[in-house]
């Protein structure tokens, strides 16, 4: 599903933020990416969404070689990837319903389908009652649920999350992680960047550890001996 071969990314010449990374993530996997601040985790995700270009190496996502992907087709490519961020990145000028519906308007779903699918998705993330609220009126956990609903509404094959629980209290963090887990159980490939080692240990998934841009370990479920 996601294959990186000898990928290096330097923001400044000679100082790699990611150094010779080789990763292979299968369809349907749930993977944690962990590492200290500045180890290159966000850089890794941005390469996958083609917000950044690698300095060298090859990235293939869902059969698409990102180097060969023309800039004009990047929007279409991104529609197959759901993105969730620590700071939620909701559109502040519209309500919960419109935030989720926006992802569908972008792909030109018919208004009738939008009216059917958005409420379904909102009830799946437990926000059916708050569809008219503005993001500002929601708690962090609720905002993150909206973001997840938006990321999933178009049924992407891949969900990428950059510290999705970073701004949440432990109970909300667990709720969100469990939500991501259930999404993965339905077949979506999920990649989660996190600092929350407690959750990582408890969930028993594949864990890739980065350190100063280098991949220092890649532990499959059950292998962890930390």
């Amino acid at each position: 599903m996601i294959t990186l071969t000898h990928v290096t990314k330097c923001y400044t010449e000679g100082i790699p933020a990611l150094n010779d990374i080789n990763i292979d993530i299968e369809e349907g996997e749930f993977v944690f990416i962990v590492g200290n601040s500045g180890s290159g985790k966000s850089t890794f995700l941005k390469l996958l969404t083609k917000e950044l270009e690698p300095s060298s190496g090859q990235i293939i996502v869902n059969g698409t070689n990102l180097k060969k992907l023309r800039q004009r087709r990047v929007p279409l490519y991104r529609r197959n990837i759901g993105m969730v961020y620590q700071d939620f990145r909701l559109l502040k000028d519209r309500n919960v319903y419109e935030n989720v519906a926006f992802a569908q308007r972008v792909i030109e779903r018919s208004p009738r389908q939008i009216k059917k699918e958005v409420p379904l998705m909102l009830s799946m993330v437990g926000l059916a009652a708050k569809y008219r609220s503005n993001p500002k009126q929601l708690s962090g956990g609720e905002q993150q649920r909206v973001a997840i609903a938006r990321a999933l509404i178009n049924k992407p094959k891949i969900l990428l999350a950059d510290e999705p629980t970073g701004n949440l209290d432990p109970s909300n963090a667990w709720d969100i992680m469990n939500l991501l887990d259930s999404i993965n159980a339905r077949g979506t490939t999920v990649v989660v960047v996190t600092h929350n080692m407690e959750i990582v240990k408890a969930m028993n998934k594949r864990v890739i550890t980065l350190k100063k841009g280098v991949m220092v370990s890649d532990e499959l479920p059950g292998e962890s001996n930390a």
């Binding site: 929007p75 279409l76 529609r79 993105m83 559109l91 502040k92 926006f102 992802a103 308007r105 018919s110």
Partner: protein
């Protein structure tokens, strides 16, 4: 590449454009006001120029020059003079009026109702030497030149020119045209600048949102279109408002002049509103919408890297 979109998408982007204007009220209002002022001035100048042009044309349709010949001229000689005058490019029409015809029309005017009084002159036409050519001009501004030319011809006794007003009007009309063109160009530049600023503010306020939209997979069209719509709507409002005001004013002002300045009404030939607005309305709309579209297009290209 041109991509067709669903109708629902156009409706959505239209809504977003309207919302943009609502969120950016102060700047939008300023843009609409400036645009309105431009189009209004344009309309005023257009109306004036159109009326002067109409008056000049009316004058051109009237007899501009009458040519009388030396006494007892042969018919052939008169014909030769006519042929020569006809060759001049500024002459649109030339009509021969014989002495008899001249007398007939004179009679009609001066002995109207007392035709028997004129009977005494019948055998001895008092206007025996008043056979003439009536020359109609295609370009009144050439009147002076033509008169000079004809006066220099053999066999011509006298040349009467009828209207000097037309000439002056024609010059004035040209001057007015230049002035209005200059003013309008300056104002339009100001309007483009203001619309461009309005759109720029809108883009800057929504930088984060635009970035998010693009991460979700919004195409350039989706991100840009609302801003284009915003520009077009500003242009549309900025032309409809002054058109409404102009329409209301035009009828009233012409009516007032006709009533209170009789001498002006004698010189001028005023156009009815529907004639003026048949051209002015589409021109103003195209101008307004065009500027709105252009202003937003330029800005997006410069400030919205998508």
């Amino acid at each position: 590449m041109r991509v067709m979109h669903k109708i629902s998408t156009y409706i959505y982007t239209l809504k977003q454009g309207i919302i943009n204007i609502g969120k950016n009220k102060m700047f939008s209002l300023a843009s609409v006001a400036t645009m309105s002022a431009c189009i209004f001035l344009f309309g005023v100048f257009y109306s004036i120029v159109a009326n002067f042009t109409n008056t000049v044309k009316g004058a051109e349709e009237k007899v501009a020059i009458t040519v009388f010949f030396d006494e007892d001229m042969e018919e052939d000689a008169i014909k030769a003079i006519g042929e020569q005058i006809k060759k001049r490019p500024e002459v649109s029409k030339i009509v021969f009026v014989s002495a008899k015809e001249a007398w007939e029309s004179y009679k009609e005017i001066y002995f109207e109702g007392n035709e028997e009084l004129s009977a005494g002159f019948e055998d001895d036409n008092p206007l025996a030497n008043s056979a003439n050519y009536q020359i109609y001009l295609s370009d009144v501004s050439m009147q002076k030149t033509l008169v000079k030319y004809i006066e220099g011809m053999d066999g011509v006794r006298q040349v009467n020119k009828s209207d000097v007003v037309a000439n002056t009007l024609s010059d004035f009309n040209k001057l007015l045209g230049y002035i209005s063109a200059a003013i309008i160009i300056i104002l339009l530049l100001v309007a483009v600048f203001l619309i461009s600023n309005t759109i720029m503010v809108g883009i800057n306020v929504r930088r984060d949102e635009i970035a998010i939209m693009k991460l979700i997979g919004a195409t350039d069209f989706f991100v840009r279109e609302p801003f284009i719509i915003e520009g077009i709507l500003i242009g549309l409002m900025g032309s409809l408002i002054p058109l409404g005001i102009l329409y209301f004013m035009y009828g009233n002002i012409v009516g007032y002049i006709v009533e209170h300045f009789v001498f002006l009404n004698n010189i001028m030939k005023f156009l009815p509103s529907h004639t003026v607005f048949k051209t002015l309305t589409p021109t103003a709309l195209i101008l307004g919408v065009g500027i709105g579209y252009l202003g937003s297009r330029i800005t997006i290209k410069k400030h919205l890297k998508v």
